[in-house]
Amino acid sequence: MNGTASENLVYLDHAATTPMRESAIAAMMPFLAGEYANPSGSHRFARRARQAVDEARDMVADVVGCSPGEIVFTGSGTEGDNTAIRGVVERTGGRAVCSAAEHHAVLHCVEHVGGHVLGTDAWGSIDLDRLAACLEDAPDSGPDSIGVVSVMAVNNETGSVTDLDAVSRVVRRRAPRAVLHTDAVQAACWLDLRDQWPRVDALALSAHKFGGPKGVGILAIRAGSPIAPFVLGGGQERDRRSGTHNVAGIVATAVALHDTDRERAHEAIRVAELRETLIAGLSQVGDVHRTIPADRSVPGVAHVCFAGIENEALLYLLDEQGVCASAASACASGAMEPSHVLAAMGVERSLAHGALRLSLGHTTTEADVDSAITAVVSAVSHLRQAAGR
């Protein structure tokens, strides 16, 4: 653990957020203190801030594999998704398309603009046959043409990796004018973004998922893509996203992404091993269903379903043991919602009630995994015993 307030906690919720990297914290501090200028200003003090943002943009572009001019700093991953989807719909008048297993940041946008929500395969990736049929059926222009297809790179609940290359081939062939957007928020820690970027026109990231601060997002937009700005105002980010730059956040984001990229290959192997140890340990309890096989999942996510238990109760017992875990997404009230991802994949509702996501990250240790195994096995055994009496 990185010290701080997390003593005694076994933190296995890195897909929700991961601790900030020390390097990122160090990088942002000067801009929270003395270097407070607004980079849009015209004095020397402002120029220093401007330079920091420009350098950050270069660093980010290098990791994504795009040109600096294609990077737009936003306020969150959700804002990036909103901008890409609603921006294209506004600009082109075409329809939006996504799968039913997308993050709500995409799904709710597509529903909001009256788009097509398609089914998935057994791993939660968009069904390519249905996608092809949907694009084929649409006209080349007019309100029923396809404006934007949004396909997540990695599913936030299950860790399932989408074959973006296959998606891209379908989209380019059947709807060559459509913008292909990917929510890559869960991909940054595990996949080389330089491999993903050539397949898409827009790519959204969220800083706090890779050791940057909360409240900063990145949207890479391929030059010339028809995307209207979502936030209007002073014209920052080349008129693509207004609002005073979050200089400290942007600087820290760039450092975090750079360090993540540098360590990725090594980390992916280390964390994949921990994840396999974890899943093997959990399997002791019996009747455990691994949602996504290792070769289809990012290393950081262990998603399993325990037959015969309710994850609301499981999470409480784990919380009592200091284990921070997650199940599906929560609604505004804080109540756990039945997972729309598992529903889209066709997982039985009763089994989905026993879903648990343990997500690992750059601070996860073998000791964390051992503690989690002990806590989960004991809690699941207890709940099953209680249900059986």
């Binding site: 309710e310 929560a330 009230s333 109540a335 756990m336």
Partner: protein
């Protein structure tokens, strides 16, 4: 004790949690997410959850949210709609207590290792001569023993109503002293899943077909029409045809043939009621009781006994003197005539009625 407090976001459950904390218990608050649709306090009642969470934070206790919306739909909303479709007027609050608060929540509390479950109901539980007694709350105007009558010995032994010994004014004063944000929150009214703007009619119309019906008198003479027979309740006076100064009451609702019969009050009088699915706080009982037929109704004197009718799970309540019929679907709650504790209850059935002759 380790106690799970059901916190609705209202002042009563806020103070219930506060009192238990003050008594030194290990307290965890939980708000149940029951209804996912539209409500007067916003979608999923988020503002109520916010209130409960802020009060819990202020008290320094953990706060959880359990999503029981599937069970709520199945055990409360679906039956509510289905009952209306067959001309029965159910009490969803009692069914919610029965199936959600005192069944599902207790079960969850058991599994998670809690010793007891507490709520903010105005009722009392006391251990008297070897028996757990469910008694009326001290504030007569706020007494809720009627809606929690579904508790049995097993549950009563582990159920706490911390504000049952207080008046509502005392509860609010206590909340004020602690500076709780719920101190002046108005009491909740009506059914939580029905909005005041749309009402019951709107809610039902979106789920079942509502049918117009003719209104006739006892002799079959047509008097007019009502828009929706499913919304008419036995004993109702408002909205049914009839003028000329005579007070007319609905004395029969026949959904199948879409007919509402009105008559004068005497037509409503019966000498008994039949209750289905009786529940008992301390085992089956036969004898003299006081019977309450609505949340704040005046108790009536009667005698409860096992039914001689076919089907075992029935009781007969014979009135000491003729009483107005109780609408099918409503709960009859039996109180000890002297001790004023709850003996049990049953749900009025729609079949097997005979009026006095």
């Amino acid at each position: 004790m380790k106690i799970l407090v059901a916190m609705s976001g209202g002042v009563d459950s806020s103070v219930a949690a506060a009192l238990l904390k003050e008594d030194g218990h290990d307290v965890v608050g939980v708000t149940l997410r029951l209804w996912g649709g539209e409500s007067d306090s916003g979608c999923c009642s988020v503002s109520d959850v916010d209130d409960a969470r802020r009060v819990a934070q202020q008290l320094g206790i953990d706060h959880l949210v359990f999503n029981f919306s599937d069970d709520f739909q199945r055990s409360v909303v679906d039956p509510y709609v289905h009952d209306h479709a067959r001309g029965v007027t159910p009490n969803p609050c009692i069914e919610c207590n029965r199936h959600l608060k005192f069944d599902r929540l207790f079960e969850r509390a058991d599994v998670l290792g809690f010793d007891a479950v507490a709520t903010g109901h105005h009722a009392r539980v006391e251990f008297i001569e070897g028996v757990w007694r469910l008694l009326r709350g001290h504030d007569g105007a706020k007494d809720q023993s009627y809606v929690v009558h579904v508790l049995d010995q097993r549950r009563l032994a582990r159920c706490l109503f911390p504000v049952g010994t207080m008046t509502k004014a005392e509860v609010r004063r206590h909340a004020e002293r602690l500076g709780l944000r719920t101190a002046h929150k108005p009491d909740s009214q009506d059914v939580c899943f029905i909005t005041s703007s749309g009402g019951r009619a709107d809610f039902l119309r979106r789920r079942i077909e509502l049918h117009p019906a003719e209104v006739v008198d006892q002799n079959g003479q047509a008097l007019g029409e009502v828009e929706s027979v499913e919304l008419v309740t036995l004993g109702q006076r408002r909205g049914v045809a009839g003028g000329g100064g005579t007070k007319r009451f609905v004395v029969d609702v026949d959904v199948a043939s879409r007919r509402v019969v009105v008559g004068d009050e005497s037509e409503l009088l019966v000498d008994h009621e039949i209750g289905a699915d009786p529940v008992w706080t301390d085992g089956e009982f036969e004898g003299d009781v006081l019977v309450q037929c609505s949340a704040h109704g005046e108790p009536r004197q009667g005698r409860v006994s096992r039914s001689s009718h076919a089907g075992t799970d029935r009781v007969v309540v014979a009135w000491d003197r003729p009483q107005r019929r109780v609408s099918p679907g409503q709960s009859l709650v039996f109180y000890d005539p002297i001790g004023d504790w709850v003996i049990g209850g049953a749900t009025v059935t729609s079949s097997d009625r005979r009026s006095t002759s």
